[in-house]
Subunit: 332 residues, 4 copies
C-alpha cells in the first residue's frame, strides 16, 4: 500500500507512523509517502486523519506501477528530458569501454556531429574472466568527466559492485546499474539515496517481476528518477548473444510508469543485427536507446563484435529519423 | 554440397549420379540439382564434366543459405508476391479458429475493407488439452475454400500432423506448418513434394539451426517456396505467453534466403501488446505478418486473450502505413 | 470431471450420455468412464442414477492425476511389470539406431548376459538434418522383431510421425513416442486406440503441464498403459546437450499416477556423465531407465558421443545394484 | 597459462615477472604462481630458468581445471575436510533466515542429535521485494557466532553485496556467496584475499563457464579454498521453483577440481521434492549438501514452502545413509 500523508504533517510524525506500520518513508516533491508491503491494505483508524490519499496495489510492484501513476514518469537529465509528455527518444552512444583519451575524443566528435547529448562508456567492466581487461576504473571516470566539461554532454557509466558506487555517482550524470548487478542491494540502496537518474539494466536471467522490483528498491529509498533498460535475456538460442525481449517491453509499457531504454548491442552481440533491431525498438515508441559505437571495433578491448563503427552508426541513425516521425517521437 | 548438373543431362543420368554420391536430387527451374551432406566437399573426378556449378556450404543449412542464393527468394502466392525485389509486407489476418460461417464472413469483410488479400483461420487445432475445442477439421477447410471462391482471397490454414496433410494441401493456398509440428517429417516430406507455398513456424523450443534445417527438409524434396515464421520462443519469462525473438530474425535475414513472416499474436499472448510489437516488426523490413483478429475475441473458442477486435485491428493497421513507408515497404 | 458409469449400463446408453455432456467415453476394466473438460463439475440431474462415482479435478490433468488414482499405475509389458506394487526399476538399453544385424545381435548378447528383458533401438530417426542417416525404417523394425523372437526380449522403438505409427504399433512391445513428436495428435490418437504400453517422451521445449496433457490424449482414447519419460529439457546451458529435469520428476511422482522412466543418455549427450546421472535417477526410486549402449560408439551412425560401450555399461550396471537395494527397488 | 616459479625465487622477483607478462601473482603452499590470460602460451626466453613447471590451459577456466590439478581439491573447514581423498559428504543444514535465538537454538539441537557439524542460516537476505523481511544482518551474524561457540559447529552464512562482506568474513567459518551475487567482483576479490573456505553459488541465469570463471576470480586472488554450489537454474518450467542441473554437476565433476555442494531446497522450492532430490544427489557422489530446515516452516519469515520440518529432515537423513554406503561416501 502507498500512503500519501497530509501536507502539514511534520517529519517526526511521518517517521513515527512509518515505523509503527512497518513501512518505508520517502519524501518526494514536498510530500511524505509511506510504502508498506502489498499484503497490508488497511490504514489503522488512528492514522486515517493524517492520510491524504492511499493506493492499494496487488503486488510488490508499487511505486513503479501504472495503478499508482498512470503515465510514464518524466525524468530530467540536466538540460534534457525523457518520459512524461516529452515524446523524446534519447540516443545514448559510445564505446563499450573507455580505453584512452584519443578513443573517447573521437567518440565525442561522433556525438557532436549528430547533435547528440549523452555519451556512454564503461570504466568498471564486469568481465567474466579474471584474466581479461577489467576497465580503467576511476581513471576512466575522470577522463569521461573531462569530456563532459569540454563538450557539455551528459555522461553515463556503469557500476558493477558496491565498492565503487560512490565514485560512479560522483562522476556521472546517469548511473548505469549493470545487468549482473541488478540484484545488488548495496548499489540499489546507495543510488536510491540520491537523486541523479539511474538506468537499471535487466539481469539476463531475471524475470520482469524481479526487474521492476529491483527498481522498487531504488524508488522506495527516495529516488524517483529510474529508467528501465531491457538488454536481452538468456535463452536456449545461441546464434545471437542474448534474446531481446520486446514482448517484455510491451508488458513494461502497459504496467509500469518508468521510462524504457533499449540496448540492442548487447542483445544481438553482432553489429550486423543492431540497425534492424534498433529500428524495431524505435517503432515501438520507447524512451531511449543505448548503442555501442567505437572508432575501430576490431581493435576494441571488449565486446569487439557488437560495436558499430562510425559509418555504420551514421547510416543507422539517419534511418531512424523517418521511423521516429512515423511514431511521433523526437530523436535527441 | 549443392551441385548444379549441366542442362543437357537426362533424368536417368542425374538419378544415377545422385544415388552414387548419396545425395538428394531435385528438379528446379529446368535444372537438376543434387544436395549431399555438408561433410562432403569433393566431386568425384568422373562426374566433373557433368557439373555446371557447385557450392560448398559449411553447415547443413544449404539450400536456404545466403551462401547459395544471396538474396531473399521470391515466392508467388497466386496473384501476389513476397520476397525478391517485391518489397511487399504481406498482412495475413483472421481468427485463431474458424468457428462458423457467420464468423468467417465477418472476417472476410474486414479484409475486404482494408484491401487485404490473405485470410488465415485454423481448422485442425493443436490444443494442449484433449478436453478443449479441437477445431472444425475438414468441414472448416471447406468453409474457408468457399470464402476464397467468393472473395478471391488466398487462404492459409495449419496442418498439425501427417494424418490430414493432404487435406490442407488440397484446400489452401499457403500451407501453414504449426510450431508443434515443425519436426514432423511426414508433413515436411509431403509439403516438399508439391509446389504450393509453405509457411513453416518455428517450434517454441527450437533453435534457429533446427528451424532452418526443417525448412531444408522441404526444400530438399523439391519445393522452393518456403517462408519462415517466427512466433515466439519459450523462455523463463511468464508475464507474456512467449518471447518474440527479433535477434533471431536478424540472424535469419543475414544468413538465409527465405522470406520471413512474424506472428506477434502468439508471441505476446495478450492483445494489448500486439500493435506495438507489430510496428516493431514492420520497421525491421520483414516480408509478412500473421495477426489474429476476431469479430468478438471474448467469445472466441481458442486464444481469446490475444486476438484483436476489428477496431483494434484497424487502428493498428493505419499506424503501420507510415512505418512501412519509412522503411520503403508496401503493405499489402 | 471423470464419471464412472454404473456397471449395468449398456454401451449405447453410455455413448448417449457422453455425447450429451460433450465428454469422451472410454471402456476400461469392464467399466464405462466419461471424461469432460475440467471446467464442468456438475452431473445433470437426469443422469445421477446412472453414475457410480465421479471425480472433480481442477485442471485438465485428469486421468493421470493422483487425485483420481492415488498410486502409480501398474503396467504389464508381456511378462514383466512396472509401477503399482512391483517395486521394479526396468533397465531398457540398446543402440540409438539399429544399423545392421551384427550390431543388434551384439546388443542382444549384452542384455542376455545381464539378464535384462527390454531392448531399445531406433528405426525411424527424427534427425535434424535432411542430409544425415535417417534410420532403417520398416526394415529395422523387422530385424528387431526377429531378435525378439530369438531371445524373448521385449522390444521398444520410436515413432516420429503419423505416417508410420501403425508399423511401430505392429512390430514393438512398447511404443516410444519421441520428444519431437510429443504433440502429434495423430500418434497420440492411434496409440490411444490400442492397448500396448506407450512410453511418451517429454518434448525438450515442453513444460510439465503439456507433457502430462499429452499423456491425457492417449489415456482419454482408452489406453491406460502410459509411461512418462523425462529425457532432458532445453535450457541456456550448452556444455551438456540438455538439462535433465529431476525437479520435474519429483513433481510428476507427487502429482501423477503414471510410471516414470528416465533417459540420461539424451539429457547428458556425453557418455562420461551417464553413469553418475543414472545412479542419481535410481536413487530417486523411479520405474525405469532408457540407456543408449553400442558395441562401438565411435562408429555409431547417430548420437556417437553419448552411447556407452559395453564395458562402461557393465561397470555402471553393477554400481546400480547396491543403490537399488538401498531404495528397496528391483533392477530388472 | 599457469606458471609455477622456482622455489628459491624471491617475492620481488616474482612480482616483477608477473607484472612484465601481465599475469596475476599468487602465493600458495610456499610457491609463487603466476596466471596469465589463456591466450598467452609462451614463456619469454629470459624467464625460462625461473620456471619450475607450466600449464597451458585452453580456456580461462585455469586454476579450477582438471588439466591443472587432476583431482578434487581438499578443503579444510576447521576440524573437518571435504574433497581430496576424504570421501566425505557434508550435510549442511539450518533455516533459510535466522529469525531469533530460540529458533536457532532449536536448529542447533537438530544438528547435535544427528552429529552434524555445519549450521547454515541467512542474515543478509537478497529478497526480491524491498517490502519483505530483509534479514537480521550483523545482529544475526553475532547470534550465529554465539551458537558456534556454544556447540562447536562450523557456521556458514551468505554475503549478498560488497557492503557487508567483511562482516561475513569475520563471523563465519564458510563464506557463502549467494546466487544473485555470483558476479560481484567486490565480493569475489575480498573473499579471494583471505583463506577461509568460500561456497560459491551458481547464479540461476549463469552458465557453467561463467560459474567456474567466477571461482577463478577467487582462486586467482590467492584463496584456494573454493567450493561450487549448484542450486538450480532458471528454465521455462514453472511447476518447480528452479531446475536442478545435475547434468551440469557431471560436467563440473569431470572438468574442474573444486568440491561440489548441492542445494536441493532452492532448486525444488517445495519441501515434498527435497528428499528424493537429495537422495539423487548423494548417489552421484558429491561433496556436500545444503538443506533448509526449520522448526516450524509454516511460520518461517522467508522460503516457507521449501524448508523441511525436523521430522521430515530426520526421515530423509536416515534414508541417505545406505545410499552413501552404496557409493562409498561418509555422511558427516
Amino acid at each position: 500500500m502507498i500512503i500519501h500523508l497530509k501536507d502539514n504533517i511534520g517529519k517526526e510524525s511521518a517517521e513515527n507512523i512509518a515505523k509503527d506500520i512497518s513501512g518505508k518513508l520517502i519524501y518526494d516533491e514536498d510530500k511524505y509517502i509511506i510504502i508498506t508491503s502489498s499484503k497490508k491494505n488497511i490504514i489503522p483508524k488512528k492514522y486515517e486523519n493524517k492520510v491524504d490519499e492511499s493506493f492499494i496495489i496487488e503486488s510488490d510492484i508499487q511505486l513503479s506501477s501504472r495503478n499508482y501513476i498512470n503515465e510514464t514518469r518524466k525524468i530530467k537529465i540536466n538540460n534534457i528530458e525523457v518520459g512524461g509528455d516529452s515524446m523524446n527518444t534519447l540516443m545514448i552512444t559510445g564505446p563499450c569501454s573507455i580505453e584512452n583519451k584519443d578513443q573517447i575524443e573521437k567518440c565525442a566528435k561522433l556525438l557532436k556531429e549528430n547533435r547528440l547529448t549523452t555519451l556512454r562508456a564503461g570504466c568498471f567492466k564486469p568481465r567474466t574472466s579474471p584474466y581479461s581487461f577489467q576497465g580503467l576504473g576511476l581513471e576512466g571516470l575522470k577522463m569521461l568527466s573531462d569530456v563532459r566539461d569540454k563538450y557539455g554532454f551528459n555522461i553515463i557509466s556503469e557500476v558493477k559492485d558496491t565498492s565503487h558506487v560512490s565514485d560512479v555517482i560522483e562522476y556521472t550524470d546517469i548511473i548505469q546499474i549493470g545487468a549482473k548487478a541488478m540484484y545488488d542491494h548495496g548499489i540499489l540502496r546507495e543510488t536510491g539515496r540520491q537523486k541523479k537518474p539511474v538506468l537499471l539494466k535487466r539481469g539476463f536471467g531475471s524475470n520482469l517481476q524481479e526487474f521492476v522490483q529491483a527498481a522498487e528498491f531504488i524508488l522506495s529509498e527516495g529516488n524517483p528518477n529510474v529508467m528501465l533498460c531491457e538488454r536481452g535475456i538468456r535463452t536456449f538460442e545461441t546464434k545471437t548473444r542474448f534474446t531481446l525481449d520486446l514482448c517484455g517491453v510491451s508488458f513494461l509499457k502497459e504496467h509500469t510508469n518508468l521510462p524504457i531504454i533499449l540496448d540492442t548491442s548487447h542483445a544481438m552481440g553482432y553489429s550486423y543485427g543492431v540497425p534492424d533491431l534498433t529500428r524495431a525498438c524505435v517503432a515501438m515508441g520507447i524512451d531511449g536507446l543505448l548503442i555501442e559505437s567505437h572508432p575501430d571495433p576490431s581493435k576494441a578491448l571488449s565486446d569487439a563484435s557488437q560495436q558499430l563503427n562510425f559509418q555504420e552508426f551514421n547510416v543507422m541513425f539517419e534511418s531512424l529519423k523517418p521511423i521516429c516521425k512515423a511514431v511521433n517521437r523526437n530523436l535527441i
